[in-house]
Structure formats: structure tokens, C-alpha cells
């Protein structure tokens, strides 16, 4: 029996699952550098979050009576879990990660109809939920391993995440205490607090948590994510518009502010290589479902995220801003799309001119 299918009969090799797996693969450099600087907790969080994500997805698909195998292996749930695992502090308690992941899968994704229908980036929705609900745990980043007074092994990391203390009874807060007895915060956090306390940028950057360009460790993590992001661009999994426009905007804003008042506003290097900048630009803001879809719209969308990141980091209440910036721009994406439709073939304004020029010939 000859079968009949609609044209085209030839299809390219693009596959959703392949795109998702490539995305996960592209985070590996960043993930390993992050693990190197911040300990085994990073890996444990990523694996735990991915496992919970897949489990939740399967359960929801079962409830919604959808084909579990086919949809589960599209890889989207894995990516959500994976990104939450990377974004959450490496020693955050297990229930925090689980809450973020479950919320992301159920409320940010399936409530809206599953993959393709979610207006918000699920990973960021889950992240923001726990950030707002549990600010203490969510800002409890350990300083880079080199600054730790006690070294933290794999077993201790597992203990810390699942029982909230290491085998010898150390809690996260004890671990975060530096040699001088002060709690060590993240570079962006420190910057914010110290600027509020009247310190100057140059003084703050001399602290031992800062490295050559930005926060110690963080700068290399960001560079590793940049490499992964460029790989994604090369593989055409993401398009250049969102990451480039976002990073350029962030650069421009931080550059101009720092040129005029350098002691109050840190320079572009710090902004580009701190916190979640690179991971956000290449792996989070580029989530196709919740981002703008038109080529021009993606530029607007990226610029929007860049501005919001800078504004919230500099003038807002939170030291890190990427999750909020992405969610706010998710809200604007449909409107941006509406106003940035590309010029269809033969509809252009140049055509109008052509029409009047040629009228004489007919």
C-alpha cells in the first residue's frame, strides 16, 4: 500500500530532543568550572533537580493522559531541572530545590498546557518563587572553595544538602564565615551592601572575594558559560539576537555609569562576568517558548533584559536580577512580537517607491 503524506517529504535533522540535549551539553563547561570553585554541591543539585523534574513531568503527563515516553524524552523537563540545579546555591537544602522544580514543572509549565504554551520561563519562575519565599537560604552562596576555612568533600556536601549539616555538624552559616569571623557573601551582594555603607568601588574590589576581573571564581564560571553559549550559537540552537543585545546593553549601561562616577558604579567587566550574566544571556533568556520570536523582537527583548538586569542590580533591592528581568520581559514578549513583524516579501516600503517609478511603463 502506497502511503500519502503532506509535502515536504524530506525533513531536516532538527529535533526538539536533540536541541535540548545540546543545550544541556553546552552547560557542561560552566557546570564543571562551577563545581571546581563551589564544590560538589553544584553537581548534586543539578542531578537532584533534574531527577525531580523528570519525575514530576512523568507524573503530570500521566495525570493529563499524555504519551509519557514521547513527551518525557523531548528533554524540556530535563533542561528546566538542570538550569534550576545550576542556578540554586550549591548548598541549598534539598526541599528548596524540590519546591522550585515542582513549581516550575507544574505551575509554570503544565498549568498553561505544557511545552510550547508556557508564557514564563519555567526555570526562572521556580527560581523566583523560592527566592522570594526563602531569601535566607537562597542567598546563602558559599564563597569559592579556596576561601573556605573547612574544606567540603562530596559526602559532606550530600549531608549538607539533605540534612542541612555536615557529618561533623557544620551548618551553611558556619561554613560561610571567613577567617576574620565575618560572613562571606557573594561578590554582587558584597558590592551592594558595601556601596550602601558608603564604601567606594575601588575599596570594595580590593576585598579577597574579588578576583582579576570580577568576583573570584565567578569570573571563570561566566567565561565557561560564554564558551558554552558560543557553542550553542555555532550549532544554531539559539540565535544571536537575544544574548548579544542583552550583553551589549549591559555593557553600554555599566560603561557609561562607571565612566562618569567610577567610585559609585562598577565597570562593565564586573557586570558581564558576575552572577548569572553569561548563563542567563545564553541559556535562560534564550528559552524560545517564553522569549520573543521575531528577529527584531528578540533584539528588543534582549535589550529589555539588559536594562532590567542593570537597573535592578544597581538600584533595586536584590543583588542579582536576571530571573526578574527575564520574567518581566516574558510578560512583554507577545506585545514585542506584535510590533516587530518582519517585512513580508513584496510588502516593503521600497516596493512602494518602485511602484510609483514604474507606473509610467504600464
Amino acid at each position: 500500500m502506497l502511503y500519502r503524506t503532506p509535502a515536504p517529504h524530506s525533513i531536516g535533522g532538527n529535533q526538539v530532543s536533540l536541541m535540548m540535549i545540546t543545550l544541556v551539553a553546552a552547560t557542561l563547561p560552566g557546570m564543571f568550572v562551577q563545581t571546581y570553585f563551589f564544590g560538589w554541591g553544584v553537581l548534586i543539585q543539578v542531578i537532584f533537580a533534574s531527577f525531580i523534574a523528570l519525575l514530576t513531568e512523568a507524573a503530570i503527563l500521566h495525570l493529563r493522559q499524555r504519551p509519557i515516553k514521547k513527551t518525557l524524552f523531548d528533554g524540556s523537563a530535563l533542561v528546566t531541572g538542570w538550569l534550576i540545579g545550576l542556578a540554586i546555591p550549591s548548598v541549598a537544602p534539598w526541599w528548596l530545590t524540590m519546591t522550585a522544580v515542582i513549581f516550575a514543572i507544574i505551575f509554570a509549565k503544565h498549568i498553561y498546557g505544557g511545552l510550547g504554551y508556557n508564557p514564563f520561563n519555567p526555570a526562572m519562575a521556580g527560581y523566583v518563587l523560592v527566592l522570594i519565599s526563602f531569601p535566607v537560604q537562597m542567598t546563602a552562596w558559599l564563597p569559592v572553595s579556596a576561601l573556605l576555612t573547612e574544606s567540603l568533600g562530596f559526602i559532606d556536601s550530600v549531608w549538607l544538602i539533605f540534612t542541612e549539616q555536615t557529618s561533623n555538624g557544620l551548618t551553611v552559616n558556619l561554613l560561610r564565615t571567613g577567617v576574620d569571623g565575618f560572613t562571606l557573601a557573594t561578590p554582587l551582594d558584597t558590592l551592594k551592601t558595601d556601596l550602601n555603607n558608603g564604601l567606594m568601588v575601588s575599596e570594595i574590589l580590593n576585598k579577597n572575594i574579588f578576583g582579576s576581573f570580577a568576583g573570584k571564581g565567578w569570573e571563570y564560571v561566566n567565561l565557561a558559560y560564554l564558551i558554552g553559549g558560543l557553542f550553542l550559537l555555532y550549532k544554531k540552537i539559539i540565535s544571536w539576537q537575544i544574548p548579544f543585545s542583552m550583553l551589549i546593553t549591559l555593557f553600554v549601561f555599566s560603561f557609561f555609569f562607571s565612566v562618569f562616577t567610577p567610585e559609585q558604579y562598577p565597570g562593565p567587566m564586573l557586570h558581564l562576568l558576575s552572577g548569572a550574566t553569561m548563563m542567563g544571556a545564553f541559556f535562560i533568556a534564550t528559552d524560545p517558548v517564553s522569549a520573543s520570536t521575531t528577529p527584531k523582537g528578540r533584539i528588543v527583548y534582549g535589550i529589555g533584559i539588559g536594562i532590567l538586569v542593570y537597573v535592578i542590580r544597581t538600584f533595586g533591592g536584590y543583588p542579582e536580577a536576571l530571573a526578574f528581568a527575564v520574567l518581566l520581559m516574558n510578560l512583554s514578549a507577545p506585545t514585542i512580537d506584535h510590533f516587530t513583524q518582519p517585512e513580508v516579501y513584496g510588502h516593503g516600503s521600497s516596493q512602494e517607491k518602485e511602484r510609483t517609478n514604474n507606473r509610467g511603463n504600464i
Binding site: P6, P8, H9, G12, P288, V289, G346
Partner: protein, 589 residues
């Protein structure tokens, strides 16, 4: 328009030829496009073959667009090769010619080549053993260039020529555009994978293709000719350039350039609008034809057909068809007479028919599946693909759209395929039109790149149909409303007229009354006036026979009733009597 100086023809013409060959044109790019695997070999490398006549040839009496054709032959007619079999009474579609001599044996329903596989009536021609051409009227190039373009275009129409690139648009219609044409673009891009019939044609009949181009340029008055070939056909380009050296340019005084240019391989560079953009950098404005830009685009095979028609007088009765795919034992380009069932081509080329999984008519991007191997090959069919399951696997079930936007990047019409998809899916037809659904050329690039394997083009076709239907419905509704309004207006007019008449009569009656009253008065005063009795007399006379008839009828009915009643009475009394008798006999004592 200045004629070439005729004083030193030899020298001048050589100089001119040098300026004519301008192959370094600046090229432009069109938006999007894809690079699917070419798969043109081995068919493109194998020599052309001529397919022998099938026993029976089939000619639909309905075109693929649904236009009916009128048969000009009857069952049992004997026809010669080149004789007209059917024509369009509206004069839009060129006639269909017999590709072989033989006998019309039937008009039956068979599966058409349309993607819906609908059954349409077809003329069945049984081919004869001895083949004889109709007498052909040949012309030399000198004769052609001195003939008026209108005559030539009529000849092109009569030869049954349509665009052989796949759309099968009547060539004569395209050539008779009222706009001034400056440039003829000959489309040898052949951008769709697998297809290589134009490649083969340019390699083996380059001179005829180029001569055809010259003839077309003469018909439309174009001064520049550009032949565009994708860079994956170096042999064709070389053959064209070789053939160009020996063309009779001296006959075509107005020609200023004949460029053979190589364009980068990218699907769909062979789309008319895309090719125009590549060569001129301009886009055909929406709703306009290329003639609007002073351009005309013709396929290379069409040019060759024009040459055959004008110079040799030979109507279009066959074409090159690529037979390819892993199941084709001898993949090649076959010269196939129209009306030949696909089955004949497959069995002649020793294709493994029992292993077929799908048969594609056309290319893998825009072609459609054929389910009945008896389907005839017609003018629009450029390729038959018989792939294995692994070669062109059926698409896996579609996943959800993840809005990745790869389709937007691939769309050569610069549309937003994804938005079109969401709105088509939601059946929001107005929205699909807002997103310019009808600018979609159905090239399939979006579906090709879609990571979720969504059959996007199918959604657009469905949406287009729905929108067209809706518009037809609206038009129908509008027409009905107009009719209804007109009817109401008519009724009102009748009513008004009636009212007017009534008024008129009332006035007349009034007048009569007054007149009568006056008359009475007059009578009373003067008894000699006899106008009124005379006036009323005709009416009474007229009524009289009617009244009489009614009275008669009543009388007759009364009479009948009376008779009936009497008869019934008589019967009743009879019955009573007999009952009495029975009673008496049943009771002896």
C-alpha cells in the same frame, strides 16, 4: 533600440557578441532558504532515455486546477500525432495534443494527478503500431523574427505550451503582458533536490534552450536575457556557454546582453520571486506580476518547447521527467509522452514496483504522493521519486511547537510561519490573513527545519482553503443580501404602484359618484340624460353569463344531490326488504 551599423557587419557583429556575453552580474540574496541534501546524482549523470509509447495514454478532461476541457475528438476517432485532443472553451488553457497516433477508445474516470487523487473523466488513447505525425508548419529564424509577436504568441498557445517548471501556467498568457518587458530571466536553477530534468536538458539541448530564449525575447521585446543556473550544475553551465558561441545573434538586433550566471545553491532559489530577487535585488510587489518590474521569468524547458513550436512547428507532446530514488533501478531522465501512466515508466525502467512504499510526483519539498500507479504523467510533472523507507522516512508524529523560530529564519517569503501555524491551528482565519497567509509560496522550508516535525505547509493549505471558502461564502451571502434587498425594493414598488392605482380608482370612483350624483340631479331636472343606464349596462351584461353559469351549476348540483338521495332511499328500502326475507327464512316458525 538603435539598429546595428550595417556597413561593416563582420567586424561589428564580432564586437557586439563580445559585449553581449556579460556574465559578471552582481547577485543578491533572498531571505531564508535551506540546504537539503541534493540527491541529484546518479539521475543527472545518466544519459537521457526515450520512453517507448505505452499501450494506452490518458488525458484528463479537467485540469489540475479544476478547469473543464472540451474533447475535440469522439470515441472511435483515429488521431494523428500532434492532433488536438481537447481544448479550453474559455481560451485560457492551451490545447492538449495527441503525443501518438492511435484510436480514442473510451472516456472513463481515472485517478488524476491532483494531490487529492480525485477521479476525473479522461480520454483514453490506444496507441497504434504505425505512428504518423500531423503535417507540421516549420519556420526559419528569419521568418520568425519578421513575424509579428502576436502571431508567434498565438502559435505558442496553439502548441499547447505551459510553464514546465511545475506550475503549468499558460506561457502565452505570460508573454502577452501589456507591460514593457526589458529583461527575460531563464530559470535553470532547478533548486529542488532529486530533480535533474532541466540539468539534463541544458546539457544535451543547450542550443535549443538558448534559441528558445532568443525567440521569447523577440516575442516580448526584451533586450536582456539572463540565464540563471545553480552552481551544482557545472556541466550544464559549460554546455550553455559553448552553445552560446554559435547562436544567430545577427538576427536579433535589439538584444543587448545574454548572460549565463551561476547562482549559489540554496532552496528555493528557483522560485520565481526568489530568482528575481537574486538577480535584480528587487522584490515583486504584493499582488503584482514580475512584468511590473519589466521582467519575465521562463523555465529552460519552456524555452526549448517554444523553440520546438516556432521553428519545427511541433506542439508540446512530451517532456523530460526525472525518475529517481533508491528503488529506481535505472535512475535517469526520461523523455515521456504526456498521458503515459506512471506504471509504464516504472516497469520500463525495471523499478521494483512490489517494494514501493511511496511514489512522489514532483520534488521532495513540494511534490505530492501518488497512490494510483495508473495516474498519467502530464505537463506539470518534472520528477517521479520512488524512495525507500529509509531514504525519505515518513515524518514522525508532530511534537509541540517550542517557538524556536527556525521557521522564521528559513522562510523565503519573510513570513512568521510559527504565528501562521498557531492561528491556523486555532482556526483564527482573520489572524492568518493579518500575518499574510496568502504570501506563503508553500515551499516547505519551514516544515523542513521544524524540530517538532509539524507539517506546517499542510496547516497553511488548509487555512488558505478555509479562508477562500469563507470569502466565497461571504460573497454568496452578500449577493443573496443584495438580491433580497432588490426583491424587497421590487415588492415595495409593486405595493406602491398598487396603492397608487387604488388611490386613482378611489378618485375615479369619487368622480363617478359625483358625476352620478350630478347626473341624477340632471335627470331629476332633465329626464333626457341617458348616459348612466348605458354606462352600467355593459357591467350587468358582463355579469349576467357568469351569474347564469353559477346558477346553472348550483341547479345541477342540487339535481344530483336529489338523485343521490333518491337512489340511497331506494337502496335502503331494498336492503330492508331482503333483511326481512332472510329473517323469515331463518326463523321457520
Amino acid at each position: 533600440m538603435a539598429p546595428i551599423n550595417k556597413t561593416d557587419p563582420q567586424k561589428k557583429s564580432q564586437d557586439r557578441v563580445q559585449t553581449l556575453f556579460n556574465d559578471n552580474l552582481r547577485l543578491y540574496d533572498f531571505h531564508g532558504g535551506i540546504h537539503p541534501p541534493q540527491q541529484k546524482t546518479p539521475a543527472s549523470n545518466n544519459p537521457q532515455q526515450t520512453l517507448p509509447l505505452a499501450e494506452k495514454l490518458y488525458f484528463p478532461l479537467v485540469t489540475e486546477k479544476g478547469q473543464p476541457l472540451k474533447a475535440t475528438v469522439k470515441i472511435d476517432d483515429r488521431v494523428l500525432t500532434g492532433q488536438v485532443l481537447a481544448e479550453d472553451e474559455t481560451g485560457f488553457i492551451p490545447p492538449v495534443h495527441a503525443p501518438a497516433s492511435g484510436k480514442i477508445i473510451a472516456i472513463e474516470h481515472h485517478t488524476s494527478a491532483h494531490s487529492s487523487a480525485i477521479q476525473v473523466p479522461m480520454l483514453v488513447l490506444e496507441t497504434a503500431a504505425d505512428q504518423q505525425w500531423l503535417e507540421l508548419e516549420t519556420m526559419s529564424i528569419e521568418q520568425v523574427v519578421t513575424t509579428k509577436p502576436e502571431h508567434l504568441i498565438q502559435k505558442i498557445f496553439d502548441a499547447g505550451i505551459v510553464g514546465l517548471g511545475g506550475a503549468a501556467f499558460p506561457t502565452a498568457t505570460k508573454l502577452s503582458s501589456p507591460a514593457k518587458i526589458n529583461q527575460l530571466i531563464l530559470n535553470g536553477a532547478e533548486c529542488e533536490p532529486y530533480i535533474s530534468c532541466d540539468d539534463s536538458l541544458m546539457q544535451e539541448q543547450a542550443t535549443k534552450v538558448l534559441s528558445g530564449a532568443l525567440l521569447i525575447s523577440h516575442c516580448v521585446g526584451a533586450r536582456d536575457i539572463v540565464i540563471a543556473v545553480e552552481d551544482n550544475k557545472p556541466n550544464a553551465i559549460n554546455m550553455l556557454k559553448e552553445a552560446r558561441e554559435k547562436l544567430p545573434f545577427e538576427q536579433f538586433d535589439n538584444l543587448t546582453s545574454l548572460s549565463i550566471i551561476t547562482i549559489p545553491t540554496k532552496y528555493p532559489s528557483g522560485g520565481e520571486k526568489q530568482l528575481i530577487e537574486i538577480i535584480t535585488g528587487k522584490q515583486v510587489p504584493k499582488g503584482k506580476f514580475p512584468a511590473h518590474l519589466g521582467l519575465i521569468v521562463q523555465n529552460v524547458a519552456t524555452a526549448k518547447a517554444v523553440y520546438d513550436a516556432l521553428i519545427e512547428g511541433r506542439p508540446l507532446i512530451d517532456r523530460l521527467v526525472t525518475l529517481t530514488g533508491k528503488l529506481a533501478t535505472i535512475p535517469s531522465n526520461y523523455l515521456v509522452p504526456f498521458g503515459t501512466p506512471i506504471e509504464h515508466l516504472l516497469s520500463y525502467s525495471h523499478t521494483k514496483i512490489d517494494q514501493l512504499v511511496q511514489v512522489i510526483m514532483g520534488g521532495p519539498m513540494m511534490g505530492h504522493n501518488i497512490s494510483d500507479l495508473k495516474t498519467p504523467i502530464l505537463k506539470s510533472c518534472n520528477c517521479i521519486i520512488v524512495p525507500t523507507e529509509d531514504e525519505l522516512p515518513s515524518a514522525p508524529a508532530a511534537l509541540a511547537c517550542i517557538r524556536c523560530g527556525l521557521c522564521t529564519e528559513a522562510c523565503p517569503a519573510q513570513l512568521l510561519p510559527q504565528q501562521l501555524y498557531w492561528h491556523s491551528r486555532a482556526e483564527e482565519w482573520d489572524k492568518t490573513e493579518d500575518y499574510n497567509l496568502f504570501d506563503c509560496i508553500e515551499c516547505g522550508a519551514c516544515a523542513y527545519v521544524c524540530p517538532s516535525q509539524i507539517p506546517l505547509v499542510d496547516y497553511y493549505r488548509f487555512a488558505k482553503k478555509a479562508v477562500t471558502d469563507k470569502k466565497a461564502e461571504q460573497l454568496k451571502g452578500q449577493t443573496a443580501r443584495i438580491h433580497h434587498e432588490k426583491k424587497l425594493a421590487r415588492l415595495k414598488q409593486l405595493e406602491d404602484e398598487k396603492a397608487n392605482r387604488r388611490k386613482q380608482r378611489a378618485i375615479e370612483a369619487q368622480k363617478r359618484k359625483e358625476a352620478a350624483a350630478l347626473a341624477k340631479e340632471n335627470e331629476a331636472s332633465d329626464n333626457e340624460d341617458s348616459s348612466l343606464p348605458i354606462d352600467s349596462e355593459p357591467t350587468s351584461k358582463q355579469l349576467d353569463p357568469k351569474q347564469q353559469a353559477v346558477a346553472d351549476a348550483i341547479a345541477r348540483v342540487k339535481q344530483k344531490k336529489l338523485e343521490k338521495a333518491q337512489a340511497a332511499e331506494a337502496k335502503a328500502s331494498n336492503n330492508a326488504n331482503s333483511a326481512d326475507i332472510n329473517k323469515n327464512s331463518g326463523d321457520p316458525e
